[in-house]
Structures are given as C-alpha cells and as structure tokens.
C-alpha cells in the first residue's frame, strides 16, 4: 500500500453515469489486477474505494459509476491532484486461468476485468469476455476489450444491444478453463450457480479504511472471516458463503 498524490489527466463520461478518469502518479504499489484504490475527496470524511481498470508505468485508469455524493463530486473534477491509497486488496490470481479463461463483468463490475484480460491476452491466452448491461445506453468499453484481442460478447437485459438476456445466458455458449467475475451480487450468485469450473469473484462492500484496520467490511468464508478490503475483494468460488 502506498499513499500518494495523482494528477488528473482526463475525466470524461462514457455513458450517462459512467466516467473514465485517467491519473498520473506512482503506481508502483499496484501489484495485481483486480486491486482497488481509495480516493480522498474534499469535504468527505471517508475515502471512496474504486476498482482499478488499468495501471501502467505512472498511469492509472479508473472507470466509476456516479451513485452518490463521492462519485458525483469525482465526476465534476477536471484537473488538480487527488490523494490516493494504491495497492489495496488481493486482486485476481491469473496463474489459475488455464488456456482459455472467461471474464464476466456486469455493469460497474466491467472495469476490473480490463487489466487481467489485457495481461492474459499479452501472454497469448485465448480470452473470452462477457459484458452484461441492462440496456444499450449503458454499454461501455466493448471496443477496448476487442482491441486487446479478446472474444467479446455483450448482453443486455432488454435485448436493445448484443445478446438479449443475462451474462449467464451467454456463458452457456462459451468453452472455458476458468472464470473471473465482478458485478452486482445477484449476478455473482447466478454465475456461481451456472459456472462449470472453478473461478474467482470480486466483491464490494462499504468500507471504513480500505486497508484492513477497521473490520468494517468483514465477511464469513469457508476458510474463516475475511476482510473484503484486505483478504478480498477477490474470493475463490470454493471459499464463498452466500449470506444475504
């Protein structure tokens, strides 16, 4: 974990409510895809945890959905510096991917799929990606995933774009060795039931600190209590206990 300041380079809307923010700064603490950062915003007490979409040498890309005061405030920033804690959470373990893994992202769960897909495509893996949205207007990053060389399927619940239905409807037609997923909890549960292999799930929870100190985001797992911010946000399929 590292605390440092990042300069806002870009902050543009991709859809009516999803924004892309590109930041310049020290990304050396980001050690795995699927980690998150915790952003301090003026006038708000708690930091806001945001998943990492992509991180390279000195550059960090965050895609976030405006849902409350924090993300609303972020969406209005055009320049300046942000106090960011980087390198939070465990991230995805790509060593288990096999030859042709599938990545399943739903809505605001799409962004953390980008960096691991980019890494595995670069290693020559045949990667399938399923991106699920409610409707055509919400679709983002389809072309970016295609540009990485992944096989991309987009689903919309109302059928206004791509395959009509849920991500699990598209999953039936994919042959995969392993899966990685992130999205709303009902979607994660559906993927859990429908999946034919082992896989990794990324969870979200309201956090106090984001680095394991406050025990605000704890959950029960097969292998004991875990903090979503520290031993998570990624849990393996075998470890999950669905409570709610």
């Amino acid at each position: 974990m590292k605390q440092s300041f990042f300069e806002i380079k870009e902050n543009t809307p991709l859809t009516a409510s999803v924004y892309k923010m590109v930041l310049a700064g020290d990304t050396s603490a980001i050690t795995a895809p699927g980690q998150f950062v915790n952003v301090k915003l003026d006038g708000l007490f708690l930091r806001r945890p945001i998943s990492v979409c992509d991180a390279g040498e000195g550059e960090l890309t965050l895609l976030y959905k405006v849902v409350g005061r924090g993300t609303e405030q972020m969406s209005q920033m055009t320049s300046g510096k942000l106090d960011v804690l980087t390198g939070l959470g465990n991230g995805y373990d790509l060593s288990l991917a096999g030859d042709h893994p599938v990545f399943i992202g739903g809505g605001v769960g799409v962004p953390p799929m980008y960096m691991p897909v980019k890494m595995l495509c670069a290693r020559g893996k045949e990667v399938s990606v399923i991106l699920g949205f409610n409707t055509k207007d919400e679709v983002f990053y389809e072309e970016e995933f295609r540009a990485l060389g992944a096989h991309v399927t987009v689903t919309t619940v109302d059928g206004s774009y791509g395959t009509k239905g849920f991500v699990t409807d598209a999953l039936k037609d994919v042959d995969y060795t392993y899966f990685y997923t992130c999205g709303p909890e009902p979607m994660l549960k559906a993927v859990y039931r429908a999946s034919q292999t082992s896989g990794q799930f990324s969870f979200e929870e309201r956090m106090g600190c984001g680095f394991g100190a406050c025990m605000g985001c704890s959950c029960k797992t097969v292998t004991g209590n875990k903090r979503i911010c520290k031993e998570g946000p990624v849990l393996t399929k075998e470890d999950i206990i669905w409570e709610k």
Partner: protein, 304 residues
C-alpha cells in the same frame, strides 16, 4: 526555545509521547508496522478483545457523516485465546513498548476472565476496559451507563489483575462524572473517554438505515468538542489520570485535550482515513508545542 519534552507518565509507565491509536482503528498493530515503525507511538490500544471469538454485526457496518463516520462493527475479534497465541506474538516482532489491552465483555465474569488472561502477558502494560461499546446488545454499554454496574466491573477486574486498569466510558449517558467517580472509588487506575456517540443515517434511495444494525457509533472530527467537554468534566472530578479521545486529528487537538485534563490522548477515526495520521501527529507535536510556548507536555495537563 530549545528542545521540547513530549514525555508523559500514564499510571506509572512513561510514554515517549501521549499519542495512542485508539482501539478498533489499529487492529493488533502489526499491519500498520508494514507502513511505518510503530515504535514511534506512545503506545496503542489493540482491537477490543472478548472471551470468545466474535464475527460482529452484519454489513454494511460503516456510514459516512459530515466530518465523521458511523461504525457498527460489533467487536469482531478472534477471542482472547487466539489474541494471546497468534496476535501478540506477531505484535512482538514489530512493537517493543508496553501495549494497551482493550477488553470487552457481556458479563462481569467475562470481563474478569479476559482481563486476568491478558494481565499475565508481559507485552501488556495497561488494561483498557471498555464498558461503553454501543454496538453490542446486552453487553458493553449496559455496564457503562450506570455507576453501580461500571463499579462492579471495575472491582471484579481489579481483583484478578496486577496491571493498571483504565475504564473506557461512554458519552451516551446523562452524567458521565458520576460514573467516572464510581469507577475511581472501585479501584480504577485511570479513565479513558469518550467512546463513540450513538448515531444513525438513512439512505434516501432505499429509505432504509445505511447501517444493517440500524444504529452505530459516531466518531471523527465532528465529535471533538463533545469529547473535550467530557474529558474536562471528568478530569476535574477524579484524581486518577484521564486518557482523552474523540475526534482527535491534529497535534493541536492533542494539546487541547491535555489542557482540558488528559494525561494521554487516543487517536481513532483519523487513522482510518490516513493510515499515517498518528505518526504525523507525533512528528508535528514539537512544532506546535514551540508555536504555543509549551516546553513540556507534562506541565500543561489540566491547567484549564
């Protein structure tokens, strides 16, 4: 003005400085030791420990507030056996000062049992007995809301321990002074206050409480004036040392708490938004002392 002196003595143990990360905001210490050398701290109060392991409350346990936050963690901890067998050995690798052991319970016997166990650990310098947790039903706070019950816990713990016992009090009472005095009369070696203020938030979209447990403990900069007032009231009513806490975020806040009567000062929620907060406060203390003409912190305790 030359070098300043930040040393204070808390219940017979000298601290290099009065800054103590508060229980529940610093885990068992070793995770912060990955970020900085935690031996710069006066000491710290470790995560509230109970007789048996506890998962705590359902999530969400956290809510944003203006200049503060609400938590309803509910004393999640691995239980005193594992704290002694697993957490304290890990802490010993990175912290070489006496630590403050924070203890909670659900009966007088619970408190006595857990304190007796931790009292025997050489790493433990003080026992901080939490009779004030707002997040557990039928436990913690019910002992801290009446002078008789608080005194009963104090006496039971004192009977089975040798180290200084500091009773941590709740602000959610009508007369904190009478409770502090009852604890002093029952043998307490010190008083710490304040624990969190009982609070609540509602999500306008769902029209339901943000916190799964409906209510939780409000902490952060917003509560500082309330905490300072209660520290002032208690410190002027008892002869034993008082550890002040509640919304402390800066070196200036530490000095203000000491002027009100605190011998040492705990830093809580500030650690959660800035993991380096306690270290920064300690590093900033000499500058602020010089600015206000304070040569030795010991000399300003309770002068207001």
């Amino acid at each position: 003005m030359g070098e300043v002196n930040t040393k204070v003595t808390l219940c017979g143990i000298e601290l290099d400085n009065p800054v103590i990360p508060a229980s529940g905001t610093f885990g068992y210490g070793y995770e912060f030791a990955e970020l900085y050398d935690i031996n710069c701290l006066g000491t710290f109060s470790f995560k509230g420990t109970t007789k048996d392991a506890r998962f705590g409350n359902p999530t969400p346990r956290i809510a944003e507030c203006t200049a503060g936050m609400i938590n309803a963690v509910g004393l999640q901890n691995p239980g005193v056996d594992k704290v002694i067998s697993e957490e304290l050995p890990k802490l010993a690798q990175c912290f070489h000062k006496p630590v403050m052991a924070n203890v909670s319970g659900f009966s007088v016997e619970d408190y006595a049992y857990t304190c007796e166990r931790l009292d025997k650990e050489p790493q433990v310098g003080w026992l901080e007995v939490n009779v004030s947790c707002p997040n557990v039903h039928g436990g913690g706070m019910s002992f801290g809301t009446s002078p008789e019950a608080a005194a009963e816990v104090t006496a039971a713990v004192k009977k089975v321990t040798t180290k200084p016992v500091i009773i941590k009090l709740s602000p959610n009472v009508t007369d904190v002074v009478s409770i502090a005095k009852a604890c002093e009369a029952a043998g307490a070696d010190g008083i710490s206050l304040i624990n969190t203020l009982l609070g609540m938030r509602i999500d306008l979209r769902t029209k339901k409480p943000v916190i799964a447990n409906t209510m939780g403990g409000f902490s952060g900069a917003a509560i500082f004036p309330v905490a300072l007032r209660m520290v002032y009231q208690v410190a002027h009513a008892v002869k034993i040392p008082v550890v002040g806490m509640g919304g402390v975020s800066t070196a200036e806040d530490v000095i203000e708490m000491m002027l009100a009567g605190a011998t040492a000062v705990e830093v809580g929620a500030a650690n959660l938004i800035d993991p380096f907060a306690s270290k920064k406060i300690i590093e900033d203390l000499p500058r602020v002392m010089k600015k206000y003409g304070i040569g030795s912190l010991k000399e300003i305790i309770g002068i207001v």
